[in-house]
Amino acid sequence: MNRDLTQTVARIAGVNPRACMRCGKCTGACPAYDEMEYHPHQFVSMVETGRIDELLRSKGIYTCLSCFACIERCPRQVEPARLIEAVRVLAERKQGADHLRPQDIPARLDPDMPQQAITSALRKYRR
């Protein structure tokens, strides 16, 4: 339990996880469902109950596609993707916690890949 972290995450995300009514529309909408160990509604609940440390360790924060489907459809303005992003930002702000290092990139490139993919991934995966 870490209430301070809950508040930090809510502040970074700019949404109120307490507004969640556990309808599960986010989880019903999520295209990356199978890749996330904590599904969007669980993610919200864990933020609310202060289980941020578990979330910080979770790989799911890097598998969210940022497709905004849950933001679009959330009836309570909780918008799980914002919370996921906030936790990811929190993880990456720790020293050396980058999910993707610049030196890893060349190995993953192919000649057709657009610059946009690299910039985006770096922005998402690294401080």
Binding site: C26, T27, H39, E72, R73, P75, Q77
Partner: protein
């Protein structure tokens, strides 16, 4: 010299816990003019009231201040108490030390200090109170019910039963409302039409009831006891008194492609139509948007086939003006527009339907004759997914409604159950957030759907519906099982949130009745006066006040009727004596006050006054009709010479309060 009595109420511990009531009564005892200051546990109790009465008599009080709960709660009670002791009831002021003091402050010292200040303000005001006499105004013994659904019908029948005349104004060509479109009703599964149509017929046959169908309220003036209402009878192009309702015209009309609003556009009707077989009144009406005779003067088939000669293409809207003693709003509800919910593919697939559309598809009098068929290909759906809370409990900006629509859990259980009963080979899924069944026999009903009928209730929500290859691919969450579900459904039914009818907002403006942010009418008190509007003489029946199911609507409709009967059984009612009053010596007849008066209560009179040197002057001065004035006070501020003042809230009284507060 004033002799004022102060009475501080403890309200049990409601006040006494945060306010030192003894300190308050001690402090107020020192105020000028106060001859007595007492406190007691419950001032509103019989003993408390006796205490006040006795004190008024024994101390020959000329004014009373009660420090207690909000005047909105007990001002009337205490006015009666004061009157019983022989004092004018308007020589009473209430200091609100509960809602606006003890309940909101935690610091005892601060709350006590504030209570004393509020008491002082009331004392300062009561010093300047004058005895007021309330006038009487007559009551027109006729009621108006706006809306002819089950709420309006029940209210009208009850009022008529008590012997009073009542008119129903219904904007559709027939009374009956939403209930006529329903198939079965929960939790007993009796047929809606079987229980409603006899009531509709009763309305038509009751000589105390007049039905203005296909009519709308155009304007309302006046006030409780004597409202003047203008009703627009829209042109039906059929003479109501001549049409026999034989329906021949509706079979012969060549214009066949008109979307049938009664079946929510699931099938078509003719340009001349009777909404359904049991319509009341059973009179045809021409849809001017589709009738080629009305649009370009060609056709006239209906006039030719009508043996009674009822068709009249030249008919015009007609305005009728009537007087009423009381008005009941029963404007009902509508499901919200679902076009904003395309994650459920509502506008992309005809097989995604709203619950009301589903109701028509299950109804024996509906477009499919009661056989459940998919609108797209007329096949029998094998897998049906119901989605609850579509647009309800939604705080997302501009998308849905923040409230729970209340009826959806139960009608969805009903639909699911009926599907399984009629077609045991169907798979029925219900996606829910919570199942809310607080009603008599409601939870048992829902459990039966699960336990006996095998409806799959899944705690979760549908995230997306995609029409694909004749199927509806439903992607949803099952929160209890921790799965994302993918169901190939044949039909998806959306439990759309319900909202007040669009006509309610303009009506509320006409009635000066207040509404909440969702356009539901506000009741005078959420618990103690649930069927009255804060506007005197306006009552509320059915869903216009908030979402309700049929039993609740009928209960409220009868309650509203009893309030109307109570009002109509009086010959006259006591007016509000706190009305405007001009000082004729200061008035210069400039008409500023008349221009701001919303009620037309101010007129002008050329009056003779004594001038200098024994002459007489003819001067134009304002006159206020106390029966019409509602006491808003707009004129008092508009008056440039300060001649207009408001009784009970005079300039001097309010300034005395200001002084006492700022002291």
């Amino acid at each position: 010299m004033q002799r004022i009595g102060v009475f501080v109420c403890w309200c049990g511990t409601n006040i006494a816990a945060t306010v030192d009531v003894q300190a308050v009564s001690d402090a107020l005892a020192k105020e000028p003019g106060v001859v007595l200051s007492a406190n007691y546990q419950y001032m509103c109790s019989q003993t408390g009231q006796d205490l006040i009465e006795t004190a008024i008599r024994e101390h020959a009080l000329t004014g009373v201040v009660i420090c207690s709960c909000s005047p909105r709660m007990h001002e009337q009670t205490f006015r009666k108490t004061v009157a019983r002791a022989g004092l004018n009831p308007y020589l009473l002021e209430i200091a609100n030390i509960r809602e606006q003091c003890s309940w909101i402050h935690k610091d005892r010292a601060q709350a006590t200090e504030k209570a004393i200040i509020l008491g002082r303000a009331a004392i300062a005001k009561v010093q300047l109170n004058t005895p007021l006499q309330a006038g009487q105004s007559p009551v027109t013994k006729r009621a108006l019910v706006i809306g002819g659904g089950i709420a309006g019908i029940q209210t009208a029948l009850d009022i008529a039963e008590a012997g009073f005349a009542v008119d129903i104004v219904e904007k559709q060509p027939t009374i009956g409302g939403k209930m006529t479109q329903l198939d079965k009703t929960f939790p007993t599964l009796d047929c809606a039409a079987c229980i409603l149509t006899p009531k509709m017929v009763d309305c038509a046959q009751n000589e105390k009831i007049r039905i203005f169908s296909y009519s709308e309220v155009e304007a309302v003036s006046g006030f409780v006891g004597s409202f003047r209402v203008t009703i627009r009878k829209k042109a039906r192009y059929v003479r109501e008194d001549v049409c026999t309702g034989c329906g021949l015209c509706t079979e012969k009309c060549p214009q066949k492609k008109v979307p049938n609003a009664f079946n929510l556009g699931l099938d078509t009707r003719r340009a001349i139509y009777i909404p359904f077989a049991q319509a009341v009144p059973k009179v045809a009406v021409i849809d001017a948007d589709y009738c080629s005779m009305l649009k370009n003067g060609k056709c006239g088939v209906c006039a030719k086939v009508c043996a009674a000669g009822a068709i009249d293409y030249t008919q015009k809207d007609e305005l009728v003006e009537c007087e009423y003693g009381a008005i009941v709003a029963a404007t009902g509800y509508n499901p919200i527009d679902l076009s904003g919910y395309d994650e459920f593919a509502y506008s992309r697939s005809p097989d995604v339907v709203s619950s009301l559309e589903f109701e028509r598809l299950m109804n024996a009098a509906g477009p499919t004759g009661g056989t459940l068929l998919r609108p797209s290909d007329k096949t029998h759906p094998k897998t049906i997914v119901f989605v609850q809370c579509v647009g309800s409990r939604c705080s997302a900006e501009g998308k849905g409604k923040t409230y729970c629509s209340k009826i959806c859990c139960m009608y969805t259980a009903k639909h699911a159950m009926l599907c399984r009963e009629k077609y045991p080979d169907t798979d029925v899924y219900v996606f829910y957030i919570d199942v809310r069944t607080p009603g008599k026999n409601f939870d048992e009903f829902y459990r039966r759907a699960v336990e006996e009928y095998g409806v799959h209730y899944i705690k979760g929500m549908v995230g997306k519906v995609s029409p694909e290859g004749g199927k509806l691919k439903v992607q949803a969450s099952d929160l209890l099982d921790g799965r994302q579900l993918h169901i190939d459904a044949d039909m998806v039914v959306l439990a759309a949130a319900i909202e007040p009818d669009k006509s309610a907002r303009p009506l509320a403006t006409m009635l000066t009745a207040s509404m909440d942010t969702n356009d539901f009418f506000t009741e005078a008190h959420p618990k103690l006066r649930p069927v009255e509007s804060p506007t005197a003489g306006v009552f509320l029946s059915g869903c216009c006040q908030g979402p309700k199911d049929i039993p609740e609507t009928v209960a409220q409709a009868s309650a509203a009727a009893s309030k109307v009967i109570g009002l109509l059984s009086k010959d006259s009612i006591v007016c509000n004596p706190c009305v405007a009053q001009p000082d004729e010596l200061m008035c210069n007849g400039c008409s500023s006050c008349e221009k701001v008066c919303p009620y037309g209560a101010i007129t002008y009179l050329d009056k003779e006054f004594r001038g200098p040197n024994r002459t007489t002057l003819l001067r134009r001065v304002a006159q206020v009709n106390p029966a019409v004035c509602q006491g808003c006070g707009a004129c008092t501020v508009a008056c440039p010479s300060g001649a207009m003042d408001l009784k009970g809230f005079s300039n001097r009284q309010i300034m005395a309060e200001v002084d006492a507060i700022c002291r």
